[in-house]
């Protein structure tokens, strides 16, 4: 797998650009990951979403269902796509340092 520099640190990413070691994540890493998603400036709304996902992941070791994400952050799905054009899974979760979900999803 490819090694890249994100947030001033060397780290491994998979083919889709998801970081492989969630412990390496910090806000500088998130800012660089966001650039790979075409989001150059992370606004308060971006951070609200990213921190929600990150906190949920640290507590539950998984991504929340999108419906819960919307309900708890107050963003509609459209607003999530406006913030992260690749969407909640491939965009927001990636920036928050979560792994790519697999299986019947």
């Amino acid at each position: 797998m490819e090694m890249v520099e994100l947030g001033g640190k060397q780290m491994e990413i998979d083919e889709d650009g998801f970081i492989q070691d969630p412990d390496q994540w910090d806000e500088a890493v998130a800012a660089d990951l966001a650039k790979t998603e075409g989001v150059d400036d992370l606004t308060d709304n971006h951070w609200k979403l990213v921190h929600y996902l990150r906190d949920y992941y640290l507590e539950y070791n998984m991504a929340p269902m999108i419906r819960k994400l919307c309900k708890q952050t107050g963003f509609s799905l459209k607003e999530v796509y406006d913030l992260f054009p690749s969407g909640p899974a491939k965009g927001a979760c990636k920036v928050a340092g979560l792994p790519k979900p697999t299986g019947c999803v």
Binding site: E59, Y60, P101, T102, G103, C104
Partner: protein, 555 residues
């Protein structure tokens, strides 16, 4: 700008230029073209290690050197020799084909791609040619003249590409006069390259997760509780009903097992809410399990051994919890494992009892070995005995068609029950054309571990026959929903429908059932389980359902 892993990247008119003219070179001399969008990323080393699979390492499909073990040829040929003895079906399938071609145009990937190696007969030849070379006198003597060829690294690459361009759907086998099951050939092909450490990550990560956590998504017990509690809140918003969430309940009568996609993926979550409401209304004594927390078994897409290891957890937890029998949800390939392999893998499950409906008293004797029945058998029996209070008109805005999921259809033969249930909860139901349903059903194009986004071109191509049939009933009858009882379908057919039949939504059957059910003590039903307003139901201001809350989350 869209990328190769997004549907928008592919222009419909370009995909529809399907070139069925074979290449000028003979098939043996035509190497694989690994084009982005048509192959799946390799299994990560960390996942192989979890389940002790050989040769864990990081590699890429584009690499020239796939870093195979030094004696890889011996490993493959010995693996083949072992399996020719162990699986009599494999030996018969290797010897039998007369190349009549009846299967050729029955594969959704061939229909959608025109690639001759996606004809089931030729896909099987990829393996059969090696069998001839090393295991038959004719092949040893006459070589390529007898359809034999030597085992080279290019052959391995070809196997990796084409055995992961087969969804093991078994439509071709329906048309084979000898009954050759190409899915079983693909399964053996995948096992053989697996001996070299060649897996796809979309299969092997769910396997590793399932082995450690009980489900593909690595949902841990407290995550499952959080998820189901969230659903219970939405259920209460929609219906006013407070549902119980029995988890790991020792001594419960029934263990309920469903695919983990139903816990997180839209629209499967609404079907999951439907399960919870149905069981609450019936008042049955059931439990969820945090260990047997996936009906799905990606071991089926890996090897017989892995299928056995992952299937065992359902029965281990049934025994630990002391339930009487197992009820399975709207899962697809789980039913191939249960109906066609479980009995000899881990069965018979003698410590359980023959499933018996606590509501109607019906004994499901056909499940006397596995002790596990399908939710649609259970629900059809309830409706037959008039045990559900149904108001079909609540689904009047829905015009539904039914996609027979490959495994429940062809591996289980469950054709009537889902249709019977749908007809009893919806006034508007239209089947797709005869040669695309029941045992002839067309695959979603994303089963057997192919449903990942980097494989988007093949998913759209493979989804073309199913998508066209959906489009047909959409145009002819105004169909606006497609019901499917499989979590892979509920995930991948959303993409297929959006692309080939835009405007058609995907749903599970239990979602339709719960939306039509009249529950004891329910509030005035103005919103469905998606919290969308139900057309024709008057919304009172004092319902406590704010406009924002009730807004659809679907695009």
């Amino acid at each position: 700008m869209s990328k190769f892993d997004e549907p928008d990247y592919y222009k419909q008119d370009e995909l529809l230029q399907i070139d069925t003219k074979p290449p000028k070179t003979s098939w043996m001399d035509t190497p694989v073209d690994f084009r982005k969008g048509t192959y799946i990323y390799p299994g990560k080393a960390k996942n192989l290690k979890v389940v002790d699979l050989p040769n864990p390492r990081e590699w890429a499909v584009e690499d020239i050197d796939w870093s195979l073990p030094e004696d890889w040829q011996r490993i493959v040929l010995e693996g083949m020799a072992d399996r020719l003895v162990k699986y009599r079906s494999f030996k018969v399938f290797m010897d039998t084909c007369v190349r009549c071609g009846a299967c050729a145009d029955k594969c959704h990937f061939f229909l959608g791609s025109g690639d001759p190696k996606n004809m089931p007969v030729l896909r099987a030849e990829l393996l059969r040619s090696i069998y001839r070379k090393d295991f038959t006198a004719m092949g040893k003597i006459f070589g390529t003249m007898a359809g034999a060829r030597p085992l080279t690294e290019d052959v391995i690459k070809e196997w990796f590409y084409y055995f992961f361009q087969c969804t093991e759907c078994r439509r071709c086998s329906v048309f084979c006069p000898y009954g050759i099951d190409t899915a079983e050939i693909t399964m053996i092909g995948r096992e053989l390259i697996g001996l070299l450490g060649l897996y796809v990550n979309w299969v092997i990560e769910p396997v590793a997760n399932c082995f450690r956590f009980g489900n593909h998504l690595a949902i841990q017990p407290h995550g499952l509780v959080d998820t189901l509690e969230f659903m219970a809140d939405d259920i209460e918003d929609a219906t006013g009903i407070k549902v119980d969430i029995p988890i790991n309940k020792k001594g419960a009568e029934i263990l309920f097992v469903t695919p983990s996609g139903d816990f997180v993926a839209d629209p499967g979550i609404y079907t999951c809410m439907g399960y919870m409401l149905l069981f609450q209304e019936l008042g049955i004594d059931y439990t969820w399990s945090t260990y047997a927390s996936d009906g799905g078994n990606f071991g089926l897409f890996t090897s017989h051994e892995m299928m056995k290891r992952l299937n065992a957890k359902i029965y281990a937890d049934a025994e630990r919890l002391g339930v009487k029998w197992v009820l399975g949800g709207e899962c697809g390939h789980m039913w191939r494992v249960i109906h066609q392999y479980m009995d000899t893998l881990n069965g018979p499950a003698d410590f359980l009892e023959i499933p018996k409906s606590p509501i109607t008293g019906t004994e499901f004797k056909h499940a006397r070995s596995t002790k596990m029945i399908h939710l649609m058998e259970f629900v059809a029996d309830l409706i037959r005995h008039d045990k559900l209070n149904l108001d079909k008109s609540r689904n009047d805005h829905i015009n539904v068609t039914f996609h027979d999921s490959c495994n429940p259809a062809r591996a289980m033969g469950i054709f009537e029950e889902p249709r019977y249930v749908i007809r009893n909860v919806c006034n508007n139901f239209h089947d797709m054309p005869e040669n695309t349903i029941r045992e002839q059903t067309f695959c979603c194009g994303g089963g057997a571990g192919l449903g990942t986004d980097e494989n988007m071109e093949m998913r759209l191509r493979g989804g073309l026959p199913r998508g066209s049939a959906v489009r047909h009933v959409q145009d002819k009858y105004g169909v606006n929903q497609l019901a499917a009882m499989c979590a892979i379908d509920r995930a991948t057919l959303v993409t297929v429908c959006d692309y080939w039949a835009p405007g058609v939504q995907v749903t599970g059957i239990t979602e339709l059932v719960a939306n039509a059910m009249v529950f004891t003590g329910e509030k005035k039903r103005t919103h469905n389980l998606r919290l969308e307003p139900i057309p024709g139901m008057d919304i009172d201001d004092d319902d406590g359902m704010g406009a924002e809350e009730g807004a659809s989350l679907d695009e």
